[in-house]
């Protein structure tokens, strides 16, 4: 170890892995992982979300899984809860869409309207 900077770099790397053990967070992203969700492809969605959140050092975002949300035909479902706003429900999500949710909704606070349950029902 030659400098404080070198140590800080090492810390930034390591923090991504351990950040999850802090449960005190503002934003919760919930992925439906019941049998219906899993068979519709929720697992890669979940892992993508976890990876993207870690990659961007989003320390205030918690990604958790849950059981059946109750709308099996719309799976994979991702719900985003923020401290001040209401819940936003995204449906028919795949890993690519998940990435957009992270970059637009979680980072820039812009809801990706076209993936929400509201627009899905209009179609």
């Amino acid at each position: 170890m030659k400098s404080l900077e070198e140590l800080k770099k090492l810390r930034e790397e390591s923090i991504k892995n351990i950040e999850m053990r802090n449960t005190d967070k503002d934003i919760r992203v919930v992925v439906g992982m019941a049998t219906c969700g899993i068979s519709a492809g929720a697992r890669p969605v979940l892992t993508t979300l976890v990876e993207e959140v870690a990659k961007r050092n989003l320390g205030n975002v918690q990604v958790v899984q849950t059981g059946c949300i109750g709308m099996c035909t719309l799976e994979p479902i991702v719900e985003v809860y923020t401290a001040d706003k209401e819940k936003v429900t995204y449906v028919h999500i795949d890993p690519e869409k998940a990435k957009r949710i992270v970059s637009e909704h979680l980072v820039n606070n812009n809801v990706v309207v076209e993936y929400t349950i509201g627009s899905a029902e209009k179609q």
Partner: protein, 596 residues
């Protein structure tokens, strides 16, 4: 670095390991692999979570689900439900966290709510065998800061300003200790970490070493820089194999990462640490005896001065700090003395870890700000005595401390307050006793301990404690007189004043404090030949009750033929012949024999 979506933390502390947490971890790994989740979920063995009573403990993140009293059999269900499908298995959660509809986060559970974790901050949070997890929690940042931005004098001043006192018992200012060693010129100085945690019932140092070994190494290097030492020793009990193992790994990883060794942070400062094992001698927790032991000799204490800061290990300037004390140091450096002083009392800043044990519901390790009342620790956090028994006393400070009563429950805990009422902080053991414990027997128990552990060098401790034990034996056998109580007190005061080291100087404390607060129990033993708690064997009588069916089993098993009676008639124990072995009570199938 690989990112996992979920972490399964299994307690690998001594308590949980003793109830098979290693097998639980192994089953998690197997099952997770079976479910093809091993790329997504990480299983980590951590240090102690503190709530040992509820062990083995497993915590699953990101939800922070607290599974208590785990068994290998429950693992599969948790994997299939929680890890695979995201459904928390409520029935296996820690009772209190799942009582209401919304699951309580750990930080709001009574046991943790009032705690403030500084020394234990990483215990149960990180994998102690992985240096990168320590670094992620700001590990070695304090060492980096000290070596690149501060002079040794500034470091000592900062530690002085924080008001940190030694957590091993005596409560001497850590900064002062360092400042005594710093100006001494010598070709070699030493930093010793005292991990010879000998107080029965105290296990916080072990937990820190098992759960956060790097914090101790980092602090030792900081201390080394402050006083100009390049070599450190950790003197640890051989009874702590897990702690030793984790320390060995930590030292190896720190060396590989360049956080121990030569020219740290390019500052020209070198520091190296070596582990030395004790071999079962309580007196080696005393600093001069400890140094003798590291030198490979019998651990016998000597007179001070010279103090270790001037003439210590192999005659070189040495500082000796306790594990918990050291674990505070990196936090103080990073957050500043003001932060540290924001907890605790003016005279005793910071927090203290206590090992709650004995007759208490939540056995375990708790860390609270100094100045917290005993009542809060014992009732709010510890949950009081089990089985609705009445609280009788709490013993603090181990064999050097004393017993306090319910009148003391509202005393704010700090060094001075505990000493003022005849006990001491000691290393932080807190053993709760209920109505079933005999205080004379407890005093005898501690004296038995010190007699055994006295190194034998000075007469008051070697002979005096033995005489005290003989008197206590007499009393518990019902042969004591009121004169004995006076003699006991006189001897105790003499030993306190004339012993060579801390062991002898504090050995009479358990007797003095029980004599003071539980004199009625001593008097019951002496005057009425009765043990009110029903503990002292010789004062007990075995009696056969009306429930006796006359099966003759007890009469046949009695080794001295003290039981008489005909078949199908109530039997009687001849008290003159009875040797109180209890064989009849074990043998009786009708529970018709009682102790009184």
């Amino acid at each position: 670095m690989k990112i996992f979506r979920s972490h399964v933390l299994v307690c690998g502390g001594t308590g949980c390991s003793s109830s098979n947490s290693a097998l639980i971890k192994q089953r998690f790994e197997e099952k997770i692999k079976e479910l093809n989740l091993d790329e997504e979920i990480q299983v980590v063995s951590t240090g102690c979570f503190g709530l040992c009573e509820e062990g083995p403990i497993v915590i699953i993140y990101p939800e922070g689900s607290f599974y208590a009293r785990m068994t290998v059999e429950r693992v599969d269900e948790i994997c299939e439900e929680h890890l695979l499908k995201g459904r928390i298995v409520r029935k296996y959660l820690f009772d209190e966290s799942a009582r209401e509809e919304k699951i309580k986060p750990l930080s709001e559970v009574e046991f943790y709510k009032k705690q403030k974790r500084v020394a234990l901050r990483n215990c149960g949070v990180i994998n102690p065998e992985d240096i990168s997890e320590y670094i992620a929690r700001d590990g070695y940042m304090a060492l980096g800061k000290v070596l690149t931005e501060m002079t040794p004098t500034e470091v000592i001043q900062l530690v002085k300003d924080s008001g940190l006192k030694g957590r091993g018992g005596a409560g001497f200012s850590t900064g002062m200790k360092w400042s005594f060693a710093a100006p001494n010129q010598a070709d070699q100085k030493y930093v010793i970490c005292n991990a010879d945690e000998g107080d029965p019932g105290a296990f916080m140092d072990r937990s820190v070493l098992e759960g956060d070994p790097h914090a101790v190494l980092e602090a030792m290097a900081i201390a080394g820089y402050a006083i100009g030492a390049t070599k450190g020793f950790i003197y640890v009990r051989a009874e702590y194999p897990i702690a030793v193992h984790r320390l060995e790994i930590a030292i190896k990883q720190a060396k590989e990462t360049g956080l121990l060794g030569k020219n740290l942070f390019n500052s020209g400062f070198d520091f190296d640490v070596e582990i030395r094992l004790g071999a079962g001698a309580f007196v080696c927790g005393e600093e001069t005896a400890l140094m003798q032991s590291i030198e490979g000799k019998r651990g016998m204490s000597r007179n001070k001065p010279p103090f270790p800061a001037n003439k210590g290990l192999w005659g070189k300037p040495t500082i000796i700090n306790n594990v918990e004390t050291l674990a505070n140091v990196p936090q103080i450096i990073l957050n500043g003395p003001g932060w540290f002083k924001s907890f605790g009392t003016v005279k005793s800043p910071g927090t203290k870890v206590f090992a709650l044990g004995g007759k208490i519901n939540n056995t375990g390790l708790v860390e609270v700000p100094m100045g917290t009342a005993l009542r809060e620790v014992i009732y709010d956090i510890g949950g009081g005595c089990p089985n609705n028994k009445e609280f009788k006393a709490v013993q603090t400070g181990g064999p050097s401390g004393g017993c306090l009563t319910k009148d003391h429950l509202d005393i704010p805990i700090d060094y001075d307050n505990l000493t003022a009422v005849g006990s001491m902080m000691g290393s932080g053991g807190m053993i709760v006793m209920d109505e079933d414990n005999c205080m004379v027997d407890i005093a005898r128990f501690f004296l038995d301990f010190t007699v055994d552990e006295s190194c034998g060098k000075c007469t008051p401790c070697r002979e005096g404690t033995k005489r005290m034990l003989e008197i206590l034996d007499k009393i518990t056998e019902g042969k004591g007189t009121m004169e004995d109580l006076d003699k006991l007190e006189k001897l105790a005061i003499n030993i306190k004043e004339t012993s060579l080291c801390g062991l002898g100087q504090t050995a009479p404390n358990p007797v003095l404090s029980t004599l003071k607060y539980f004199r009625d129990e001593y008097e019951a033993h002496v005057l009425e030949k009765r043990c009110p708690a029903g503990v002292c064997q010789s004062l007990l009588r075995y009696i056969i009750t009306m429930d006796c069916k006359g099966c003759t089993k007890c009469a046949r098993i009695c080794p001295v033929g003290a039981i008489e009676g005909k078949v199908k008639e109530i039997h009687v124990i001849n008290q003159d012949k009875c040797i109180k072995c209890g064989a009849c009570m074990d043998a009786c199938t009708f529970h018709a024999i009682i102790k009184k």
